[in-house]
């Protein structure tokens, strides 16, 4: 099954929940309304897409004319585990704002738990039924979401060690030279 076939198959059933299709073949991405994302994921899960390959996000805040700031992408695979065959792949994408993400998909694919935590950790995109979201990669003391385009590139939040933006120069002046002398 290619993305296009899936799109054509779902179109009569879901109507305006599907906004369109971008790309072709394995690269095809179905663009979805956020409100209908959950229903679509359930439908695809029951249609045999038994593996969530990836859930990721892109920050489009430096682009003009986008419907929202972030775009979530779900990549699904229909895998025949016994034969080791891929029966089809599909990608879904939807635009979301900061903290108003779609409902969690972890009851459909348990691995979504960690992927959603990663999306929240890196981008600050929340999921509507997960109010107690916890970081997964960064430490608890970290504040902010480092892959957002407005996170200052030189900002450091070390747990130990110098905290200013030019750690090495400062270290050299204050510590190393007296030690060498």
């Amino acid at each position: 099954m290619t993305g296009k076939e899936i799109f054509e198959g779902l179109k009569p059933e879901l109507g305006d929940a599907l906004l369109g299709i971008e790309g072709d073949g394995l690269d095809a991405v179905l663009s979805v309304r956020q409100a209908s994302l959950r229903a679509l994921l359930e439908k695809l899960k029951s249609a045999g897409f038994n593996m969530l390959v990836d859930l990721t996000c892109v920050d489009y805040s430096k682009f003009d004319g986008k419907p929202a700031r972030f775009r979530l992408t779900y990549r699904l695979l229909s895998l025949d585990a016994e034969a080791g065959l891929s029966l089809g792949r599909v990608a879904l994408a939807c635009w979301v704002e900061d903290l108003k993400g779609p409902p969690s998909a972890r009851d459909l694919w348990p691995c979504a738990d960690w992927l959603e935590r990663e999306v929240w950790d890196m981008f600050g995109v929340g999921f509507s039924d997960r109010p107690d979201m916890k970081r997964i990669l960064m430490y608890e003391e970290f504040s902010g979401h480092p892959l957002r385009k407005d996170y200052p590139i030189a900002q450091r939040q070390p747990l130990i060690g110098p905290t200013d933006e030019k750690p090495r120069e400062r270290w050299l002046e204050s510590d190393l030279r007296p030690r060498l002398a």
Binding site: M138, P158, R168
Partner: protein, 154 residues
């Protein structure tokens, strides 16, 4: 080897201790990233770090002399590295293996420590991404020179 103000026996003792220490290095490999492959290559029989008396990795910091920090150190692991260093008994030496540990390398970003010398003292830097085994062995011999010169100090 005679130093002014020190007796013949003392300076000879220094030389003997330095000699003993430099050829019996027990290393603690703190391996976090791809440099580890190069470290393993150097340690194994093809390049054979054991020729230089450093063929005995200890996986407890309490039994090690040289802390080899091999690979990128993130801010999240930095407290662990500092603690490992504190757990080592003196005399101890630290080798920054690879450019990530020397300066942060090309990871000039939110997650990476910009050189482990911002958190622990470093005795020897081996740059390279990753350093070739020859560079590691050269670094090791330089560290041995340093250990020899330190004698009982250090």
């Amino acid at each position: 080897m005679l130093n002014a103000g020190e007796g013949f026996l003392t300076s000879q003792l220094d030389a003997a201790i330095g000699w003993a220490r430099k050829y019996s290095i027990f290393q603690y490999p703190f391996v976090t990233a791809c440099c580890g492959m190069e470290y393993m290559s150097t340690a194994c029989s093809h390049y054979d770090m054991d020729r230089f008396g450093a063929g005995f990795p200890r996986f407890s910091p309490r039994q090690a002399d040289v802390l080899m920090v091999v690979g990128t150190i993130s801010h999240k692991i930095a407290p662990v590295l500092k603690r490992i260093h504190e757990q080592m008994a003196a005399p101890k030496w630290v080798v920054a293996f690879g450019v990530c540990t020397c300066t942060g390398g090309f990871y000039n970003n939110y997650s990476t420590v910009q050189g482990i010398d911002t958190i622990i003292p470093v005795d020897l830097y081996i740059p390279g991404c990753p350093p070739r085994p020859e560079a590691v062995l050269q670094g090791l011999t330089m560290l041995q020179d340093k250990i020899q010169k330190q004698g009982r100090k250090g």
